[in-house]
Amino acid sequence: MISVRNLSYQYDGTSRAIQFQDFSIPQGEHGLLLGESGSGKTTLLHVIGGLLRKYSGTVSIQDTALNALSEAALDGFRGRHIGFIFQRNHLISALTVEKNLALSPYLAGLPIDAARIDQVLASLGLQEKKKSRISELSHGQAQRVAIARAVLNKPSIILADEPTSALDDKNCERVITLLTDVARQNGATLLVATHDQRLKDRISNRIDLTTAP
């Protein structure tokens, strides 16, 4: 469950401020954050994900107000409750696929469950790539590893920033199906920030930032 109330964000060192519309997404449902570049999609996503702290208003995840948490507590909360998928599926290239995944529970302070890693890899068809180096993966495989990493800790929220913008129609279709399926399997709320009009038909719950009040 994501809830945003009276949120406004002031950019560092500028007079530019964005006022966001109020919205909430119930637990387990999917939402689409639409807007052109510069409309504040990424900023909103980072605020919801607890990566940005200096804002006014209230953002609650699972009834926890994020600005009530200390920075270290917010780090822990982020690790346990929120999974990120970025446009560039940035994986740690010094580590194998398996270790990249193991990093997720380790950094969140959760026990590392080898069976869970196997299960998530299997559900994304990556069993054989478990011991592979990141440089040996194709783009599609790397994206699936990034998705696996985001869902490994069974987060209540999955935030995806432009996951499909660089993809052709076929791959776009594949990735959005994968994301919605994975979110459904893990009972997570999915929020996708994009300017990709192709996703409009796939997720009905839309927050349009271009028509912000």
């Binding site: 990424t42 900023t43 980072h46 994900g49 990566l51 940005l52 920075e71 270290a72 780090d75 822990g76 982020r78 690790g79 346990r80 990120f84 970025f86 560039r88 940035h90 740690i92 290239s93 010094a94 580590l95 270790k99 193991a102 990093l103 997720s104 529970p105 380790y106 950094l107 969140a108 302070g109 590392i112 990493r149 920033d161």
Partner: protein
Amino acid sequence: MSLLTLVWNYLKARPLNTAINILLLSLGIAVITILLLFSQQLEKKITENAKGIDLVVGAKGSPLQIILCNIFHIDFPTGNIKLFEAERIAKNRLVKKAIPLALGDSYSTYRIIGTNRAYADLYHGELATGAWWKDDLQVTLGAKVAELTKLKPGDHFASAHGLSDGGHAHEEHQYVVVGILKPSNSVLDNVILTNVESVWRVHEEHGEEEEHDEHAEEAPVRDSTFVPSPLIPSVAKGDSTKEITAMLLQYRSPMGAIQLPRIVNAQSSLQAASPAFETARLFSILGVGVDILMGFAYVLIVISGLSIFIALYNSLKERRYDLAIMRSMGATRTKVFISILLEGGFLTLAGSVLGLLAGHGAVMLLAGMAEQAQRTGISGLVFYPQEWIILVGSLLLGLVCAVIPAVQAYRTDISKVLAGH
């Protein structure tokens, strides 16, 4: 998964960079270790060998040469001194003990020393096999000499003039080995002991020698007015012909240190040399070389510290996104900070451990290969508490080099990095 595995994998991902950093530091540490092992052991050996000897009296010349020749047996004598002159000094009430030394010959570069048992007692020499020398031309070997020349009790050998291998051989006089000493870890291990008379006999002219032989054997019984020399009992006191190389003195009281050198040097033919003073001078001469090498090692270490700093700083640029991702996965600022410090610490720790091992290894190799080094008895298997300082110091160096990159990692604005600005 832990911070250590993470750090280890990052280092493994840049093998060349990691290797050069470790190598550079280990080189500096190895040089320091070698210098430490050599200077400490050398200093200890030199002090031990000079222990119990307060003053050396030899012929006029360089006091340092007198010490090098008569205590460490690595230099040539300054000349001879008359026995009766030595006796006069030995008689002084400030002298507790006087040991005569007659040098000149060697066997396969090991010096033959004509002296008495007091000399062996100075180094707590004990017999391993056989007996102490008693009659003329009998010798007792130091432990290393026996080990390296393979001589056993009962073996005969001819001495050669001087200290080098190719000296004129005194074939007509064969020494006989009667005993071998236990290792004493002192200069005693590297010398061949005999009595002063043997050294005289080898060096006397043929005709004179036979004449002297009779004299030496018959003298004590023949003459009722015979007063034996306090230094060499077989010779009459005040004998004006006999000469020795040097005399080692022990003072009866600290007053000796003030008066005896003056008394000795007042005689035109004699020179007094204080082992304490001369070895201190020797250290200060050697110290310059050691200091230069030390300085070189420190330069290496500083460069390796810089190189580690640059490596971490550069890798941090590439890793900004990695760090931001890790933060997004729940890593706290502190964890990220510590991971960079660990990386620096790991590099320098590995470098210093490797350097210490290489230093000890190099000394071991050197001590095992060169006979000259073997004689000094320097070993690579000695460890000093200073090595802990090296270890801790290099660990600190790593942390210091990593601190700026780590602070940068700590300050990383994850949102900005992830948004791609």
